[in-house]
């Protein structure tokens, strides 16, 4: 199984915390704060898991949905977890329709997310 995880969030602290928490657990963590950056990484690197927020440029954006569609097309083997602070019901059902593995609301204990990652990546293997 690929232990490489792409974390996409516009909050730098969150990316920092993921790296700090997941790397000691044996994962390789890449981070992106913007849609284009994330898509570029997805097209070059084979990730076992994508953890993405839905809004990357303010309260009205929805780049996350775009990213999910891109990942589903270009990287079908990548499991996807949405982790959002402001997802509406409509966005949630759209994300679920596009085949995400989990839809979670912030904040979440990183321990819980690590357990979820382990679970999803094992199933991919």
């Amino acid at each position: 199984m690929s232990l490489r995880i792409l974390v996409v969030d516009d909050e730098e602290t969150i990316l920092f915390a993921f790296r700090e928490h997941f790397e000691p657990l044996g994962y390789e963590i890449d981070c992106a704060q913007e849609l284009e950056e994330a898509e570029a990484l997805l097209s070059h690197v084979r990730y076992g898991l994508l953890i993405a927020d839905l809004r990357l440029t303010g309260s009205q954006s929805s780049e996350g949905l775009e990213l999910i569609r891109y990942a589903r097309e270009r990287s079908p083997w990548t499991r996807i977890v949405v982790l959002t602070g402001s997802g509406s019901e409509a966005m949630k059902s759209e994300a679920m329709d596009r085949g995400v593995d989990a839809f979670l609301e912030k904040p979440r204990p990183l321990g819980e997310l690590a357990a979820l990652a382990a679970n999803l990546l094992e199933r991919t293997a």
């Binding site: 602290t13 700090e20 609301e105 990183l110």
Partner: protein
């Protein structure tokens, strides 16, 4: 000779005088011979008949040129004319009224007396004297008076009718109305006003306003009436009554029939309007607050997650460094509380959409009690479930109702002394099921009972004050009711009434 001359002259004198008297009489005098022929008439008679003396003399009353009518307009039969009757029968006639149409077209009304002239020993008159007076103007005056009286009667009827109509209308009005003298003395008050004051008409009329009592809204009415009496300008005020009704009072100065000034007091029950306005204001405030709070909560969640995630990372890196432990614990506990607050704010700000299914009350109670078991064990409190058997199944959003019961049980546990019990009951209540969570803690402060469902109202350190607000919203969304009370035996009881199926309650955000 001399004597005869003297006697004749005396007789002539006497006749002359007699003629002069008759000629000067206002009354008409006509003398008939036995066959009815007029042999003599005075000037008044001619004037009344509208004929010359020549035209009158020699006529009888059977002459078809006479046009006579009775009162009421029917023709007067000529053979019944008083002169004719008296000549025929020898009987006098008195005050026979008839109308006489004159050649000039005018009708005169005359009142006739007839007297027979009898020679001593005779029963058949040799002549008859008719005396009559023109009563036309008297009659017209009488008729006019009759018409006036009739009009007055009609007017009187109209007035009494209007008065009755007005009184019935006045009393039928649902709003209390009073008519006052300028000094506040009651002239009249309608049924609704009497009912509001609890007085009888006769106990209130002519009494000062104070006779209606010192309970609201009467003092406000009195104050307003005094003000309007002083300023002579209409004024309005509002008053709250003990039973919870709100009255809009208006006092208007009016002019009485004699120009004196009166006051009209109208009280309108605007309780429902005020309630509606308040609820509208609350719901406007709430939805504005909801948008604000949800916006803030969203913005807070990202940095909050940044903090909690960094804390998690920090802890996992340094979990072996026991000297950091107390810092983690403090930070994690505070961040956890903040996370719960954010979650509750979002929950409360979001419209609630129920996903109902048929559920067994016992099973839902068991699920909630099981979820609270760890907290109960930690507080050394026992949860005792006491559902009545055979409760009907309820249409409910299971997760939401479990959340409600869990919240109530957690509250009860937090307020229970160690070693005590929290009782969780359920029983049928008509078309509903009543659930009750009872504890043996200190109960609610009396002044808090009205406020505990308000958002952010809490007396528990670290409480968000949103728990019971969310409970209330979920229960109301189900068409149910939640109430708080103190048990007579001590401790609090929270009751939830849920209908067999949720009513049609529109979804709205909590704010």
């Amino acid at each position: 000779m001399h004597f005869r001359d003297t006697a004749e002259s005396a007789l002539e004198d006497s006749e002359e005088r007699y003629r002069a008297v008759v000629a000067a009489l206002e009354e008409g005098i006509v003398i008939h011979e036995a066959d009815g022929t007029v042999v003599s008439c005075n000037a008044s008679a001619c004037r009344i008949f509208g004929l010359t003396e020549e035209e009158v003399l020699g006529r009888t009353w059977l002459d078809p040129r006479w046009c006579l009518v009775r009162e009421g307009g029917a023709p007067f039969p000529l053979e019944e004319h008083p002169a004719t009757v008296t000549l025929r029968t020898g009987e006098p006639r008195s005050q026979v009224v008839l109308g006489l149409d004159r050649p000039d077209g005018g009708r005169r009304w005359i009142s006739i007396n007839s007297r027979p002239l009898l020679r001593p020993g005779d029963t058949t008159p040799y002549a008859a004297v008719l005396s009559f007076s023109d009563i036309t103007s008297r009659r017209e005056a009488e008729e006019e008076r009759g018409r006036i009286e009739e009009r007055q009667d009609k007017l009187q009827q109209l007035i009494s009718r209007s008065a009755l109509e007005w009184r019935l209308t006045f009393d039928a009005l649902g709003s209390p109305l009073l008519l006052l003298e300028l000094d506040g003395r009651i002239i009249r008050l309608n049924e609704a006003a009497r009912a509001l004051a609890g007085v009888r008409f006769e106990d209130a009329v002519h009494q000062p306003l104070a006779a209606l009592g010192a309970e609201p809204p009467w003092p406000a009415v009195q104050a307003l009436a005094e003000r309007v009496a002083a300023n002579a300008e209409s004024a309005t005020a509002q008053a709250h009554e003990r039973q919870g009704r709100t009255w809009d009072i208006s006092v208007n100065p009016v002019a009485g029939p004699g120009g004196e000034r009166w006051l009209v007091v109208v009280l309108l029950d605007i309780t429902d309007v005020v309630k509606l306005q308040e609820s509208l204001r609350r719901s406007e405030t709430m939805s504005a607050m909801g948008a604000l709070v949800a916006g803030v909560a969203h913005e807070v969640r990202n940095p909050l997650f940044g903090i909690s995630a960094t804390l998690d990372a920090f802890e996992s890196r340094f979990k072996n460094r026991s000297e950091y432990r107390r810092y983690f614990d403090v930070l994690k506990e505070r961040v956890h509380r903040l996370s719960i607050l954010m979650q509750q704010l979002l929950d409360y700000g979001k419209p609630l959409r129920l996903e109902p299914s048929a559920e067994s009350p016992e099973e839902v109670m068991r699920a909630a009690a099981a979820a609270c078991a760890p907290i109960a064990a930690g507080a050394r409190v026992e949860i005792v479930e006491e559902p009545v058997t055979d409760l009907p199944s309820l249409e409910m959003d299971r997760n939401r109702v479990v959340q409600v019961f869990q919240n109530l049980l957690e509250n009860a546990i937090q307020h229970s002394p160690p070693g005590s019990r929290v009782t969780f009951r359920a029983e049928g209540a008509g078309e509903r099921v009543r659930f009750a969570v009872e504890d043996s803690g200190t109960g609610f402060r009396a002044e808090d009972l009205d406020r505990i469902f308000e958002p952010f109202f809490t007396r528990r350190r670290g409480g968000t004050g949103l728990g019971l607000s969310i409970v209330q919203r979920i229960v109301e969304q189900h068409g149910g009711e939640v109430t708080a009370a103190n048990r007579p035996a001590g401790g609090a009881v929270m009751s939830v009434l849920l209908p067999l199926r949720p009513g049609q309650v529109p979804s709205r955000p909590g704010f």
